[in-house]
Symmetry: D2
Subunit: 104 residues, 4 copies
Amino acid sequence: MTDARVDTETHAHHGYISDKDKYLNRLKRIEGQARGIRGMVEDEKYCIDILTQISAMTSALEAVAVGLLDEHLRHCVMDAARLGGPEADAKITEATAAIARLVR
Amino acid sequence: MTDARVDTETHAHHGYISDKDKYLNRLKRIEGQARGIRGMVEDEKYCIDILTQISAMTSALEAVAVGLLDEHLRHCVMDAARLGGPEADAKITEATAAIARLVR
Amino acid sequence: MTDARVDTETHAHHGYISDKDKYLNRLKRIEGQARGIRGMVEDEKYCIDILTQISAMTSALEAVAVGLLDEHLRHCVMDAARLGGPEADAKITEATAAIARLVR
Amino acid sequence: MTDARVDTETHAHHGYISDKDKYLNRLKRIEGQARGIRGMVEDEKYCIDILTQISAMTSALEAVAVGLLDEHLRHCVMDAARLGGPEADAKITEATAAIARLVR
């Protein structure tokens, strides 16, 4: 949350990301990786080299996901835990579902 | 490249991708997903929603990888198999290493 | 363990698993899958069929992992969150590291 | 196929595994890991320690899968490639489907 805006939308400006610039930079780099891979396909580079780049990009993306999940647990879920009740339980269920999608 | 190999660059213009446009479109869409996810972090959208988008993007990327690997096996590896010898063996070793990186 | 902690061993009898029998049964089934796969290799069954069984076993194992992680977040991490302080932070760091190993 | 046996069963005794004992030993170890993890749940060991063991077991299983896939490509798929025709194509399609299940 960069400014003092009174949040009226749902799911917006949660302000839970402690190092937002780090994630923005990583995602910009991932976007560049996607563009680079597209260029490799365009130029018909050697398939195995393209796959190596895809593996690297997938790892970078997973690292972002794990980082964001850490922030989420540390802030949203912890806050809910301190309040307790069904809201806390619901937050865990939601987080577990997200983890299951990442683990597959 | 089965014909006239005037190719002087290493690993360039292999021409093994039978439906190049399909892959270029998919990768353009993946690039858009990366940009969208960056926008979500920028706007501090709800973390779980961002993670859902990252999972979708990872799946799209894995589908591209498996598709490219299929093309690679179908063309480069098959060609090498028909020629036989140590070259064929080396192609399999290389493909397996790429698969191991994807499977992790 | 919220009650009578006579526990003198480290990391033993944490009592956080709400449906222990479910996990024991699932793990017994996974053990049977491992044995079945070994039998398939012994009998030199068709490789693709063995790989299908390995994929099924991996999925079963991941489901157990996600289930145990859910229990862990719901009990240990929640308890730590309510207590707060560095202990709570350390629990999240530990959970995130475990998630990273699962996601890879 | 180590001997001249006329194979009458479908998908049996393919004899494509060059180092069968290595795979049998690895799978025996994986079975032991499954048994160990079940014991940890039975004894209610610390959840994070159980998850660490599950991650190790999943990695061991993936290594077996990649190894068997390598053997399969090296033998069955190569043989089909040398024969050529629709059979070769079908083998690649089948192998790719197996890889997709492993990559998820």
